[in-house]
């Protein structure tokens, strides 16, 4: 029993890791304050779930989930050349609202608030990941791959270009850089991984409904990125683990689950507020959020 619970927690941590590492690429490295990350996550989940329910093999569903999210990430990047700062953040919020309301209202496709049940567990070349332990191994491998890919991007000259755009976009332009292309790429890649996370989530829980993808769900993830530190991948990992475990502690104190849910949200939001007020660089970050 206890080990089943730990496996479940580890899987959740992996999903959060993919989400927050990819968000750090767009928010931390290229400085695009993207509050619509959950929309990418949801697009990945719904795309892959619908395909999986239609009998498409898992790997294709996973890829399609990533690609659909990636494409929408590119679309969301289009206005970044003109709109900056808090208005851009609002555009991403609006984007999140739209995707959420599509999930809720496109009844014929998404079954609206009823959600999509019976999503098959992953199966790769005949090997099924029916039990949670094998699923954990699958998602751990993918999470590691995502970590190394994002780290490699961050360390490459392209990653330095992203940081330059974040620090001073005009100065980067004056050095002849196509800053729009850089931001569009980073947002698209970031969205791709969020889509992958969504596809994995859908195939793990085997049921999705719009409530997992509302705007408010961005709070834990943005908290992780800010608490761990912008442009700090080890910080993100540490923060993901801590933030996933803290609310679990409440479970042992013995609160009923009807109180546990909202309490967890309050804890995330409070931690985020305290960090924003007292330690805007996060714990392992060198970059101040602006």
């Amino acid at each position: 029993m206890a080990s089943a619970y730990i496996i479940h927690l580890l899987i959740l941590i992996c999903i959060y890791l993919i989400l927050s590492l990819s968000l750090n690429l767009s928010v931390g490295y290229s400085g695009v304050l993207n509050l619509g990350h959950i929309a990418f996550y949801g697009l990945g989940a719904y795309t892959s779930a619908l395909m999986a329910l239609a009998g498409v093999p898992f790997l294709l569903c996973l890829l399609a989930g990533g690609l659909v999210a990636m494409f929408s990430g590119f679309l969301l990047a289009l206005p970044t050349d003109k709109i900056k700062g808090d208005y851009l953040a609002l555009v991403t919020v609006g984007f999140s609202f739209i995707i959420y309301s599509l999930m809720l209202n496109l009844d014929e496709v998404t079954r609206g608030p009823l959600g999509l049940p019976g999503i098959p567990r992953p199966s790769i070349f005949g090997f099924g990941f029916e039990d949670n332990f094998s699923f954990l191994i699958l998602i751990a491998v993918i999470t590691l791959a995502v970590y190394f890919i994002i780290q490699r991007i961050a360390d490459s000259p392209f990653g330095k270009l992203l940081e330059a755009v974040r620090d001073d976009e005009l100065a980067a332009k004056i050095l002849g850089k196509d800053t729009f292309k850089a931001k569009a790429f980073s947002l698209a890649i970031s969205a791709f991984f969020a889509g992958i996370a969504g596809a994995l989530y859908a195939s793990y829980i085997t049921f999705i409904d719009p409530s997992s993808f509302s705007l408010m769900q961005i709070i834990p993830i943005i908290s992780i990125v800010i608490i761990g530190g912008l442009a700090s991948l080890p910080g993100t990992v540490l923060a993901t683990i801590i933030l996933t475990l803290i609310p679990e502690a409440l479970r042992f104190v013995g609160f009923p689950s009807s109180i546990l849910g909202p309490m967890r949200q309050i804890i995330y939001a409070l931690i985020l507020l305290l960090i924003l007020i007292y330690r805007p660089r996060g714990f392992l970050g060198k970059v101040e959020l602006e």
Partner: protein, 290 residues
């Protein structure tokens, strides 16, 4: 049919206008997006439920108590969250994130304290309808439209003629100049939150007469109020009110052709279009690029 839709649109617009007026008022002086305004309305509505339905206090007294709680919550948020952030010169983006966190906290509080099931205030009878020509309106709706009209006119007169209203407009126009002539911007911010939240409390009372009270109503309302402000021009209260009626009408005329579940999607698409194409809104002035 046309006149009925017109009437429905105007009633929806009146409710949105109440939300947008307080939100725009706060934005106009402080220049940041106070998403938690929706949470203030929701919590005030629950306070009304607490005083009137649970404690059995006289309705009018309960309404006054609910409005006072709204003011206390709004000013409290400013004092506890926004003021420290302003002190460390946090950017509007940071304040935006923090306001979403506060909204999440307020919603979770509602959920924790009052539970997930919807509540209703059965003070005025919704059933009895009046027919004015081809249009059927309930007495409650007439009450709502008239009260919001009176409130908005009072607000307009207050902003135009009272000393504090004038000072608020001065700060909204140019904070630095206002401070040079001896107006304390911080004091005016507090006033903005007090008056904005007073309107929020008022809105809460009117809305909870017509709609059910539920934990997530704050998010739903602020999205509409925010959309209205963006349409009309977020810098001015008049713009917000104008946008609110336009939004109410567009939504109701929109579902003439589209399934009614697309009502929200219509609002989001309009919001997105305005954010991308005309972020300064209909009444807004394009800022000169420097």
């Amino acid at each position: 049919m046309f006149y009925q839709i017109l009437a429905n649109g105007l009633i929806a617009g009146a409710i949105y206008a109440l939300v947008a007026a307080g939100f725009s008022l706060i934005y106009s002086t402080t220049k940041f997006v106070h998403f938690a305004h929706g949470g203030v309305i929701a919590l005030s509505a629950y306070m009304l439920y607490l005083f009137y339905s649970l404690l059995g206090i006289n309705f009018w007294l309960s309404a006054i108590l609910a409005i006072i709680s709204g003011v206390i919550i709004g000013v409290g948020i400013d004092y506890l969250v926004y003021q420290p952030l302003r002190k460390r010169r946090a950017s509007p983006v940071i304040i935006l994130i923090s306001s979403v966190s506060v909204l999440l906290i307020l919603e979770s509080l509602n959920l924790m304290l009052f539970g997930a099931d919807v509540k209703s205030i059965n003070f005025l009878d919704i059933g009895s309808g009046w027919s004015i020509g081809p249009v059927i309106i309930t007495s409650l709706q007439i009450f709502i439209v008239i009260s919001s009209f009176v409130l908005l006119v009072t607000l307009f007169l207050f902003m135009k003629y009272s000393k504090i209203g004038k000072a608020m407009r001065a700060v909204a126009d140019n904070k630095n100049v206002a401070e040079i002539v001896g107006i304390s911007a911080e004091r005016i911010y507090t006033w903005s939150f007090a008056i904005g939240s007073l309107i929020a409390g008022f809105a809460a009372v009117l809305i909870s007469l017509e709609q059910n009270i539920e934990p997530t109503m704050g998010t739903a309302l602020i999205i509409k109020g925010f959309t209205a402000s963006i349409i009309g021009g977020v810098e001015s209260v008049a713009g917000g009110v104008l946008g609110a009626f336009l939004l109410g009408l567009t939504e109701n005329f929109g579902i003439w052709w589209l399934p009614s579940s697309y009502k929200d999607a219509i609002a989001f698409v309009i919001l997105f279009a305005f954010l991308l194409l005309r972020p300064e809104g209909i009444l807004g002035v394009k800022k000169n690029q420097k």
